[in-house]
C-alpha cells in the first residue's frame, strides 16, 4: 500500500496516497479544479493551464493535473492570483474560438462555455483569431469535425491512443497547429474504427456525432443507463433522449463503446419501425388494434392444431421465458427453436455449467490468453482493448489465426494454420499438454469422464495443420498455467469444444471461456431446454419472436404465421399477424451476460409499445390459457429459478462436431456506409428491413 500523504486544500484536509496529483486530491474533498485538457482515465498532459493553483510558500503557480502532492502542502484553488491566471488562459483560448453557441450541439455541456461563464470572460479582449487553414467541415462519416472550434486540449489524441488506433496528433506548429490525422486524411483513410472515443472526451463542439444533430439540446436530455445489445459483451451504455426520442448513446463507467454501440442506435429511431399491429386482410397487411391482432393470432394458431415457436437471440430472458411458456403451455406447442441455430444449448452442453463462461473482466485479468479465430480483432473491439490492456500488464497472448490482425501484433506466439483447421491445432495443443505432463491431472480427475477424455485426447491422431510440433509444444507450455481465458469467434463450434477441453485439461473451470457473439442474449436458449433446430419444425402454426428465418432461407413452412419484430422483416411480410416489438434498449429485464450471469437491462430508450412479456402474456390470455405471471417481477423470478436449475455437473465436451450449429455468429469488421451515412440511412429507412439490430449486421455483412 502506498504511503499516505496529508495536505490542506482550501483549508480542508485531504489524505491521499503518495503519487496522487493535486487535482485528484482536491476531488477527494469535494473540490473540482477547472480543467480542459485533463480527463479522468487519460494520462494528463498539463497543457491547458486552467488547473493552475497556488501553493503556499511557492512563487509560481502549480499545474494541479500533473503536480503530485507532498506532505504538508497547502493548496489554494481559488485566490485572486489563481483567478486572474485562469481568466487570462480562458481569454487566450476564447480568442481562437468562434463561440457560435446558439447553433453548437455542445452548448449546455461545453466546458469552455461553462468556464468562460464561471470566470466572467464575456468579451473578446483579444480579437478573434481563427487561423486560416482550419477546416470547418470534413466529409467523415459518423463524426463531424470542425477544427475552428478546437481548443487543442489533446484529449482526443490521448483517448484514441489509449483505446483505439492512435490516428490523431498535433500537426504543424504555432498558430497553424491542428489536431488531425496524418497528412490530414479523412478519418476513414486513417485507420479510424469510429469508436467515437474522441467525441466522448471532446470538451467543446469540435467533435460531434453526426446522427445526434438537431435532435435535442444538451439541457433537454434525459439519461438512462443500460447495457449495449449489439454483441454479447454488453458494454455499459448510457442513452440520452429528448422529446420522446433517442438523441445519442455514450459510454458508461467502462468508458468505451465501439462503433456499433456509439453510432448504431438509430435503427431504434427508424421511420421504418413497426408501431402498430398488422393483420392480413384480403391479401395485404393492414393496421389494427392490439385486441383484434391478438384475438386473430390466438384463433389462427389454435385452428392449425399444432404450434411451434422460433425465438431470436436479441430479446430479454423474460421475453424468452414468457415465449417458451406461451408456445409450449398456452398454445400446446411442442417445439421452441432458436433462430441462432441451437448455438447456446449446443455450446453450453460443452461444460454442463454456465460458470465456465468468461466476461471482459476475466479477460482483462487473465495471465494467459488463447485467442482463436479471425473475427476477434475487428469484430469485437472491446475485447481487443481488454486484451491490449492485459498484455500491457504482462499477460501472454497466443493467437491462432490464419491471417494477421491487430491481435497478432500483440501476440507472444502466433500460430497460422490454414483457415478451418483451428480445431485441429487446438487438439494438437491438448495432446501436447498431456504428453508433456503440463495438464492438471488432479483437476481432470474431478470432472465426469475426465480420465477417459484425457486418454482419448492423448491417443488421438491429429491431422497435420502445417504448424510444427515445436510451436505446438511452445503453445502448450505458454498456456499451461495461470489464470487463462480462451476466446474464440468466427470458428466452427467444434473448435470451441476442443478449446473448452484445453481449459478443462488445465483445470480452468470458471470464468475461462469467452465466446463473443453478434447478439445481445445468445445464451437465452438455455431457458428453453432442448432445441431441435429450425429444420425439426413440422407444426402448421408458427410464432416467431425477434427472428427472421426467411432472410436466411431457413423458414419452415406454416399455414398460419404470427411474427413479432421491430421491422417488417422478410418473415413478417409472410405473416398473418404482425406485432411490433421493443428493441433490447427499450426493454426492462435481464440477459445472460458473456460471463454466464444474469445482467440487468433497462428501458433506457423511450418506447410507446407494451413490454414484450406483456404482449406474450396477453396472447396467452387471448388463447384461453393465461401465463402464470402478473408482473415482470414474476417472470424474472421464473427466469432466476430456471437459471439456478441449470447448474449441472461439470463434464468433458464431446470432441467431435456432431450436432453442432456450425459456427457462432461472428461480427466481422463494421464496414462504413457508402456513399454517405445520411444517404445510407435513407436507403435503410426506405427499403431494407433489418431484424432486431439487423442494421449493424447488415452493414457488417
Amino acid at each position: 500500500m502506498a504511503k499516505e500523504i496529508s495536505l490542506s486544500i482550501d483549508g480542508r484536509t485531504a489524505t491521499v496516497a503518495e503519487g496522487t496529483t493535486i487535482l485528484q486530491a482536491a476531488e477527494t474533498v469535494g473540490i473540482e479544479i477547472p480543467r480542459l485538457c485533463y480527463f479522468a482515465g487519460l494520462p494528463p498532459s498539463g497543457s491547458c493551464r486552467l488547473c493552475l493553483v497556488e501553493l503556499e510558500g511557492q512563487g509560481r503557480l502549480a499545474v494541479a493535473c500533473t503536480q503530485r502532492v507532498k506532505d504538508g502542502m497547502a493548496v489554494h484553488t481559488r485566490s485572486e492570483r489563481v483567478d486572474e491566471a485562469r481568466s487570462f488562459v480562458l481569454e487566450l483560448i476564447w480568442s481562437t474560438h468562434p463561440g457560435d453557441c446558439t447553433t453548437c450541439e455542445k452548448s449546455g455541456a461545453c466546458d469552455l462555455q461553462k468556464y468562460t461563464y464561471d470566470y466572467d470572460v464575456d468579451k473578446h479582449r483579444y480579437p478573434l483569431h481563427v487561423p486560416d487553414g482550419f477546416p470547418t467541415a470534413y466529409d467523415d462519416p459518423l463524426i463531424e469535425r470542425d477544427l475552428s472550434l478546437c481548443i487543442l486540449c489533446g484529449r482526443c489524441i490521448r483517448a484514441c491512443r489509449e483505446q483505439s488506433q492512435g490516428i490523431l496528433d498535433f500537426m504543424q506548429r504555432g498558430m497553424a497547429t491542428a489536431v488531425t490525422t496524418s497528412l490530414d486524411k479523412p478519418l476513414v483513410d486513417s485507420g479510424c474504427d469510429f469508436c467515437g472515443g474522441c467525441v466522448a472526451v471532446c470538451p467543446v463542439g469540435c467533435l460531434v456525432e453526426r446522427n445526434r444533430k438537431l435532435r435535442g439540446r444538451e439541457w433537454e436530455l434525459e439519461s438512462s443507463a443500460t447495457r449495449c445489445g449489439f454483441c454479447s459483451l454488453g458494454c455499459d451504455l448510457i442513452v440520452d433522449s429528448a422529446h420522446g426520442q433517442i438523441v445519442r448513446t455514450r459510454p458508461g463507467e467502462d468508458g468505451y463503446l465501439c462503433v456499433r454501440g456509439k453510432f448504431g442506435w438509430d435503427y431504434l429511431a427508424s421511420d421504418n419501425r413497426l408501431d402498430a399491429p398488422l393483420v392480413r386482410s384480403g391479401g395485404a397487411l393492414e393496421e389494427t388494434t392490439w385486441e383484434e391482432a391478438l384475438a386473430r393470432a390466438a384463433k389462427g394458431l389454435a385452428d392449425t392444431g399444432s404450434v411451434a415457436g422460433i425465438v431470436g437471440p436479441n430479446v430479454t430472458n423474460e421475453a424468452v421465458k414468457a415465449f417458451g411458456d406461451l408456445v409450449t403451455g398456452s398454445l400446446n406447442g411442442e417445439t421452441v427453436a432458436l433462430s441462432s441455430g441451437g448455438s447456446s444449448t449446443g455450446v453450453l452442453a460443452t461444460f454442463g455449467s454456465l460458470k465456465a463462461l468468461a466476461d471482459l473482466a476475466d479477460l482483462e485479468r487473465a495471465k494467459k490468453i488463447l485467442a482463436v479465430g479471425p473475427a476477434l480483432a475487428e469484430g469485437y473491439p472491446r475485447a481487443r482493448l481488454a486484451i491490449k490492456r492485459a498484455v500491457g500488464r504482462g499477460a501472454k497472448l497466443i493467437v491462432i489465426d490464419p491471417g494477421d490482425s491487430e491481435l497478432t501484433a500483440l501476440a507472444t506466439l502466433h500460430l497460422k494454420p490454414p483457415a478451418g483447421s483451428e480445431a485441429d491445432v487446438l487438439s494438437a495443443i491438448g495432446k501436447a499438454l498431456i504428453m508433456g505432463d503440463l495438464h492438471n491431472a488432479d483437476a481432470v480427475e474431478q470432472i465426469r469422464g475426465g480420465a477417459d477424455a484425457a486418454a482419448r485426447i492423448s491417443e488421438q491422431e491429429v491431422p497435420a495443420t502445417g504448424i510444427g510440433p515445436g510451436q505446438i509444444t511452445e503453445a502448450a507450455k505458454l498456456f499451461a498455467e495461470g489464470k487463462g481465458v480462451l476466446m474464440a469467434a468466427g470458428v466452427p463450434c467444434v473448435a470451441i469444444r476442443r478449446g473448452a477441453a484445453l481449459l478443462l485439461l488445465t483445470g480452468r473451470v470458471k470464468g475461462s471461456l469467452l465466446l463473443p457473439y453478434a447478439a445481445a442474449n445468445p445464451w437465452s436458449g438455455v431457458l428453453l431446454g432442448a432445441d431441435a433446430g429450425l429444420s425439426g419444425i413440422e407444426a402448421k402454426g408458427l410464432v416467431v419472436l425477434g427472428a427472421d428465418p426467411a432472410a436466411t432461407g431457413s423458414m419452415p413452412s406454416a399455414s398460419f404465421l404470427v411474427v413479432q419484430d421491430l421491422f417488417l422483416t422478410e418473415t413478417a411480410r409472410k405473416a398473418d399477424v404482425v406485432l411490433p416489438l421493443r428493441g433490447i434498449a427499450e426493454e426492462e429485464g435481464t440477459v445472460i451476460g458473456a460471463g454466464g450471469k444474469l445482467i440487468n437491462v433497462s428501458a433506457a430508450a423511450p418506447s410507446d409499445l407494451p413490454a414484450t412479456w406483456q404482449v406474450l402474456a396477453d396472447l396467452a390470455t387471448a388463447a384461453g390459457k393465461p401465463l402464470p405471471y402478473a408482473s415482470l417481477r414474476d417472470v424474472r423470478t421464473a427466469v432466476k429459478d430456471a437459471i439456478a436449475s441449470l447448474e449441472g455437473e461439470l463434464q468433458f465436451p464431446s470432441l467431435s462436431g456432431a450436432g453442432d450449429p456450425g459456427e457462432l455468429r461472428p461480427y466481422g469488421r463494421f464496414e462504413l456506409p457508402e456513399p454517405s451515412w445520411v444517404a445510407r440511412s435513407q436507403i435503410r429507412g426506405g427499403g431494407v428491413a433489418p431484424g432486431v439490430q439487423g442494421r449493424a449486421e447488415e452493414v457488417a455483412a
Partner: protein, 163 residues
C-alpha cells in the same frame, strides 16, 4: 497537385533502402528526428509508405511521426524537384522587386511558390532572407546565389533544361 507523381518504388526496394536506416536507430531513445532526416535524405522526402514502415518498426502510431515531422519546416511530405529555386522575399529584396521576380518565375515554371513541377525538375519556394541583402534582389538555385543581372540567364537556363 504538382509533383505528386513520385517515381515508383516497389515495396521490396522500399524495405531494402529503409533497412540500414532502421537498424541504425532502432532501440535508441530520442532518435526520431535524426531517423526522419535519414529517411528524407534517402527518398528526397518523407514518403508515406516509408513513414508507415518506420512507425511499424518503432511500434508507434504513424500519426505520432507525422506530428513530429510536420512541426519542422525541414521535412517534406511530397517529392521535391531536382533544382530548388528560392526567391528571397526579405525586406531588401522585396523593395527591389522580389514580387515581380516571383511572378516571372511562377509564369516561366508554370507553378506557384511552394509547388514542384510535374517532371520533378524544379521546386519553387520563397524564403525570408538569405543573408546577402547587398545583392538584392536575389534568387537561390540550389546553393548558388543568383543576382539580378544574372536572372535572365538563369531563366534561359531553366527553359533549356525544361526542353
Amino acid at each position: 497537385m504538382a509533383g505528386s507523381e513520385s517515381p515508383v518504388i516497389t515495396a521490396d526496394e522500399l524495405a531494402e533502402r529503409l533497412a540500414p536506416i532502421l537498424s541504425k536507430y532502432l532501440g535508441k531513445e530520442g532518435a526520431v528526428i535524426s531517423l526522419l532526416q535519414d529517411v528524407q535524405e534517402e527518398f528526397g522526402f518523407l514518403e508515406e509508405r516509408a513513414m508507415t514502415a518506420v512507425a511499424d518498426a518503432l511500434r508507434l502510431p504513424v500519426s505520432h511521426l507525422y506530428g513530429v515531422a510536420s512541426f519542422y519546416a525541414q521535412f517534406y511530405f511530397e517529392p521535391r524537384g531536382r533544382n530548388i529555386v528560392r526567391i528571397c522575399t526579405g525586406t531588401a529584396c522585396h523593395i527591389r522587386g522580389a514580387p515581380a521576380i516571383q511572378t516571372t518565375l511562377e509564369e516561366e515554371l508554370g507553378i506557384s511558390a511552394g509547388e514542384t513541377t510535374d517532371d520533378l525538375e524544379f521546386t519553387l519556394e520563397t524564403v525570408n532572407c538569405v543573408g546577402c541583402c547587398a545583392l538584392a534582389p536575389v534568387v537561390m538555385v540550389g546553393d548558388q546565389v543568383v543576382r539580378r543581372k544574372e536572372l535572365q540567364k538563369v531563366i534561359n537556363a531553366l527553359k533549356e533544361t525544361e526542353e
